[in-house]
């Protein structure tokens, strides 16, 4: 009886921890967006770095293409999402 009660408490704790983690993640994203600052053009040394591009790199396009052939899911990463390939 006590064991099942403890298990129930344990499960509830896990669920509550998961919810907390999710909330923390959401809060962090929102907080970081809230803390956006207006970065001047001359301060964009790091942001303009080739590796900081917010898109798939030219080198990755080939990889994305064959992942489109190999997987049922595609898109939202700058690659093809439908059409243009003889695949599902």
């Amino acid at each position: 009886m006590e064991l099942s009660f403890n298990l129930k408490i344990y499960k509830l704790t896990i669920i509550s921890m998961r919810k907390s983690l999710r909330n923390i993640a959401l809060f962090s994203i929102l907080a970081s967006m809230n803390s956006c600052i207006s970065v001047k053009s001359y301060q964009k040394m790091y942001l303009n770095d080739y590796e900081m591009a917010l898109a798939a790199k030219k080198l990755e396009v080939f990889e994305i293409n064959f992942e489109t052939y190999r997987e049922g899911a595609s898109g939202a990463n700058g690659g093809k999402v439908g059409g243009g390939c003889g695949c599902n």
């Binding site: 917010l54 049922g72 899911a73 059409g83 243009g84």
Partner: protein, 295 residues
């Protein structure tokens, strides 16, 4: 082989990309699995973009084509981009249409016994991207897409073996499909010599596939010219409601596929990107190499 030609003026910009890929299928024994052990894919796009510097708006049109041994595709699209907050925020809206056509090649033993209603495929894509600079080292991009496909969505060369009868058929799938991928990319310049590139995608379609994909890459600048980046990619998807393995489908079903692209699976990809890009050496152009492994 990749050839990229660019002609840029300050405003407007005309860009032309042409690429030829030669695929060679690798195999683990002395037999290749199909006649398509190699193929050549050629594709090219031309785009014209005009930027209004005062309003921070860019309008663009693009057209392209792609050919494979048994496939041809033509595409056309429009795009609109708006920048504000000194270029720290950007919204991009893109729409694109693909008009494709198959050269239908049926499995040898089924030729003359099976037919498909048509060989054309049409895809309409609508995409919204939002980019935001968070601070001097951190930026993110959110992408949402909607893809409506119609026409021949099955692959005509795939055989299906049934549980109840011995005569096989080709893959049969609905003639419409709706796909919705949502992605977020966060890049952080951790140190002067190290960057963290992360990407997450949630995907849903009306074939019954849900997927989660996560990628992380950590490029490290070993010198001004040399960057090496280990990466890891995790992909997990549920199977399509039309998928069943070999000799599991019943011949009374309307739609069926045994293509494992549409099955439930998870994959791990890991590797290393090596990029050599000398700053002031015009005789040695930029070179990149991607080494990958799968499980």
């Amino acid at each position: 082989m990749q050839l990229i030609h660019k002609h840029e003026n300050s405003n407007p910009v005309i860009e032309f990309d042409s690429v030829i890929w030669h695929f060679v299928q690798s195999y683990i024994d002395s037999y290749t699995s199909s006649a398509s052990s190699q193929d050549v894919r050629t594709f090219a796009t031309i785009s014209y973009n005009r930027k209004n510097l005062k309003a921070g708006e860019t309008y663009g049109i693009r057209a392209g084509f792609s050919t494979e041994y048994d496939y041809r595709s033509f595409s056309a699209g429009l795009s609109y981009t708006k920048e504000w907050n000194h270029g720290n925020s950007e919204l991009n809206l893109t729409t694109q249409a693909f008009f494709d056509d198959w050269s239908i090649i049926y499995p040898y033993e089924l030729r003359g016994k099976v037919t498909l209603p048509g060989s054309a495929r049409k895809s309409l894509n609508a995409q919204a991207n939002f980019f935001q600079v968070i601070n001097k080292r951190l930026q993110l991009g959110i992408s949402a897409e909607l893809i409506q496909m119609s026409g021949l969505l099955s692959t005509p060369f795939h055989r299906i073996y049934f549980k109840d009868i011995s005569i096989p058929d080709i893959e049969r799938l609905p003639d419409t499909r709706l796909k919705v991928p949502l992605g977020i990319r966060v890049n952080y310049h951790l140190r002067d010599y190290m960057i963290a590139r992360t990407f997450y995608r949630y995907y849903w379609d009306d074939f019954g596939i849900y997927s989660n994909t996560f990628e992380i890459e950590l490029p490290v600048k070993l010198s001004l010219a040399l960057t090496m980046g280990p990466f890891y990619r995790y992909h997990r998807q549920t199977g399509s409601k039309y998928f069943a393995p070999f000799q599991t489908h019943l011949s009374t079903e309307i739609f069926y596929t045994s293509d494992y692209d549409l099955s439930a699976f998870e994959s791990h990809k890991y590797g290393l990107t090596i990029r050599y890009s000398p700053l002031l050496d015009y005789f040695v152009p930029e070179k990149s190499l991607l080494l990958t492994g799968f499980s």
